[in-house]
């Protein structure tokens, strides 16, 4: 019964999406307030019905209603409640429903909280959202119905893959989808602006909070995914350049470029066509990511049950939406005014270069992911692209970008001077040099690249701290008061750039100084590894709720003291997993993985991962910076009616 209600809600939502698509677009064209209001109502109602449909599916999972085919395939009664709920999005159909849910909620949010937008713009944004929603709801209803029934219903369902039964599962996909789908709002804004023929600072001010609102969860989702892979998969890797990981990185890179480009557009009216193009492409990459996971075009760790037929549908959606948007862009963008000019040495230029590098990096990831398909089509040759490719392309291109990150906030708008800039950069440069020297002395010449990377990380951190730091230094207020009076946008920017520095620090540490070893250990045996003494104290069989495990306990004598580690090798009904034993410290992790029994003992593999925790700390700090920025009231006050203003004299960096 509940499933049928959900099905019905979905169909109603589809119809409402069609109304939401048609009414406001016509209404904006004819400046008809009734139609535009209808669009807002339809959007809110659509959100309500999609929520109802999602709730229905979730209820079926939680209640273990095995007459629903999806539930029978992904849940059973032994599965803990949280994972029964999370299994709602653990399948293609369910995750598509989550996609549509978030799309509808964002649309409803624009309808509800977009009161400060120009009415025709808001209407057009809702119209485009409605079109996208209708397309995906149609896809869902006609090809991927989550509410299909099984007759007769089996008494018990298939358990969700135990690898996925983890707190990370509960949060990783929703966060990612909040990001992917969130960029649909920026896309809608871009298309709406092209339809209106107006892209200006006011538009940028309206769109920026929505871009941030998508960027933040995407950053969190990617970071969380990497962290989850690290502790769950059992071999200490944290990024594999897997096609689906790449599918999340590409929109992130372009979304970051979009964020900065919109800032320039808002402050200076410059880069309008760049910003629009980025908004269109970011969401298009989200769509391509969706295509990648569900179509079977590439094999991936993450792929759902692949179905080329569904892939064709999604390809069609991409073709229609991205194609129409880009055609509109080709038609309307050349007429956009380019705003005030800027000199090579200016913040606008810095951000332009930033965009250039981020776009190139996104191109690297795109080529690495999809070129094998094209090469196979053209030559019949099957090649594969793995981490070594990215080491030679992504890394060398990322380094200049990271160096430039410090320049950006230090530059003034429109026109800056080298001497003044040099003065501002003196402190971060000194910090970087000092840290680099220190690491060189302690680390040795062999790791020159790592030393350079850590110096670069210090450059980033010092540069980020310098922004509020200089305000405090220049003023007479106390540090606390200075922080309180600094706009949240500035603090957010400092946190985000600092997060980037920490990310680089972690990557440098673990890439340069990682060690590992593998050996067979008997209970009671002791071995030394990476400055620690590890003893296998016990080895026994234990039982879990739905698995049997071989549990190994270790006693470790480390640099700072002694501690115990417990690792497991679990056998579930359908597969095996490893629960790695990880000891976390700011300076590095000890990662111990337990394998199969051998010669009366057990195979043990150990890794030392120096500085690795800073990778995810940095990632989350970036997201935190975004959150702080989002809280800035300047972002949320709508742009008032434009009055002619004199251009202010370029002041010191805000």
């Amino acid at each position: 019964m509940v499933a049928e209600v959900g099905q019905f809600a979905l169909i109603l939502a589809f119809l409402l999406a069609l109304i939401q698509a048609a009414a406001p677009l016509v209404g904006a064209h004819r400046i008809d307030p009734v139609l535009m209001a209808l669009g807002r109502q339809a959007s809110l109602l659509q959100a309500l019905f999609v929520i109802a449909a999602f709730a229905a599916l979730a209820w079926c999972y939680v209640a273990c209603d095995f007459s629903v085919q999806l539930v029978a395939e992904h849940a059973n009664t032994a599965q803990p409640l949280a994972y029964r709920f999370a299994a709602t999005w653990g399948s293609h159909e369910g995750s598509m429903l989550l996609w549509v849910l978030i799309l509808a909620i964002y649309g409803g949010a624009v309808a509800q909280f977009g009161g400060n937008l120009r009415e025709t713009l808001q209407a057009r944004v809702l119209g485009v959202q409605g079109l996208v929603g209708a397309a995906f709801l149609g896809f869902l209803i006609f090809t991927s119905n989550p509410f299909l029934r099984l007759d007769p219903a089996p008494p018990e369902g298939v358990e969700l893959n135990p690898l996925l039964q983890d707190p990370g599962l509960v949060s990783h996909p929703p966060l990612l989808y909040l990001g992917y789908v969130g960029f649909s709002v920026a896309f809608a804004f871009a298309v709406a602006a092209l339809l209106e023929g107006r892209v200006d600072a006011a538009w940028a001010r309206w769109v920026r909070p929505w871009v941030l609102a998508a960027w933040i969860p995407l950053t969190c989702g990617i970071t969380l995914g990497s962290l989850w892979a690290y502790y769950e998969l059992g071999w200490g890797g944290w990024w594999f350049w897997d096609p689906v990981e790449n599918a999340s990185l590409m929109p992130w890179l372009l979304g970051t470029a979009l964020l900065h480009s919109a800032l320039v557009l808002e402050r200076r009216g410059a880069l309008p066509s760049w910003t629009i193009l980025l908004a269109i492409l970011t969401f298009s990459l989200s769509l391509i990511g969706t295509f990648l996971v569900r179509s079977g075009i590439l094999t991936s760790v993450h792929a759902f049950a692949v179905d080329p037929e569904r892939g064709v549908w999604i390809l069609g959606i991409i073709g229609v939406f991205t194609g129409a948007a880009l055609i509109l862009y080709a038609w309307r963008a050349p007429a956009l005014k380019t705003g005030t000019l800027f000199q090579p040495l200016s913040r606008e230029s810095g951000i332009t270069l930033n965009n250039l590098f981020l776009t190139t990096l996104a191109a690297v990831v795109f080529l690495g992911t999809f070129m094998p398909v094209f090469i196979e089509l053209a030559h019949g040759d099957k090649i594969s692209v793995g981490p070594p490719y990215y080491a030679w392309t992504f890394a060398p291109l990322a380094i200049p970008l990271l160096g430039l990150v410090v320049f950006g906030p230090m530059l003034t708008w429109k026109r800056d001077s080298w001497p003044a800039l040099r003065a501002r950069l003196r402190a971060p440069a000194l910090a970087a040099a000092a840290v680099g020297l220190a690491v060189l002395v302690f680390g040795g010449w062999r790791h020159a690249v790592a030393v350079a990377a850590i110096a670069l990380a210090a450059w980033l951190l010092a540069g980020a701290a310098a922004i509020p730091g200089r305000r405090w230094w220049a003023g007479r207020a106390s540090l606390g008061r200075s922080i309180r009076t600094t706009p949240p946008g500035v603090i957010g920017l400092s946190l985000a750039h600092a997060g980037l520095g920490l990310l680089l620090l972690g990557i440098a540490g673990v890439t340069a100084w990682q060690q590992d070893t593998v050996l067979t250990m008997q209970p009671g045996q002791t071995t030394t590894f990476a400055g620690r003494t590890v003893t296998l104290t016990s080895l026994e069989l234990v039982d879990g709720p739905n698995y049997q495990a071989r549990e190994a306990k270790f006693a470790v004598h480390g640099w700072a003291g002694d501690y115990a580690l417990v690792g497991q090798r679990r056998a579930y009904a359908t597969s095996q997993t490893t629960e790695a034993a990880v000891h976390v410290t700011p300076l590095g992790n000890l990662y111990v993985s337990v394998g199969d029994p051998q010669d009366g003992g057990i195979v043990v593999r150990m890794w030392s991962h120096p500085l690795i925790m800073w990778i995810w700390t940095g990632g989350f700090l970036m997201a935190a910076g975004g959150l702080v920025s989002l809280s800035d009231r300047r972002l949320r006050l709508g742009a008032p009616v434009r009055t002619p203003q004199l251009q202010p004299v370029p002041a010191a960096a805000e």
Binding site: P162, V301, P344, S349, T352, I383, V385, G386, P388, A580
Partner: protein, 153 residues
Amino acid sequence: MRRPVIVAALLALAGPALAVTPDEQLRDPKLEARAKAVSRELRCVVCQNQSIDDSEAPLAHDLRVILRERIAAGDTDDQAKAFLVKRYGSFVLLKPPFEPATWALWLGPFAVLAVGGLGVAGYWRAHAKGPEALGPEDEAELASLMAGADGGE
């Protein structure tokens, strides 16, 4: 028709990368280090995106053993890799070869950077000129205005 590669892959994926078991390792640590480095560049063809160093699949085990045999027998890294490429194709290399078919892959990023860089440079050059010098008529008019301003009041 797909073989139950999926099951094998899941098993391989789900297990830890205790891939290189102690009994596989070569005695000579330098050779073992080389073997490890090379096996990190080789793809496990029955897995979903793992190197043979990381994978627990039986085929990965076989390939690791063969690789170590070749290296212990005196093959260079390239020769050892070529041995496997001859049997399984370029697909087994995680670093794609640099050949005409892959030029777009390797050079593409730098081409994008170059094109974009030229665009930015072009913009700078077009807009970096300072204020234009005044023509003679404007100079005269300016002079008279200035004289008028001094003389007046």
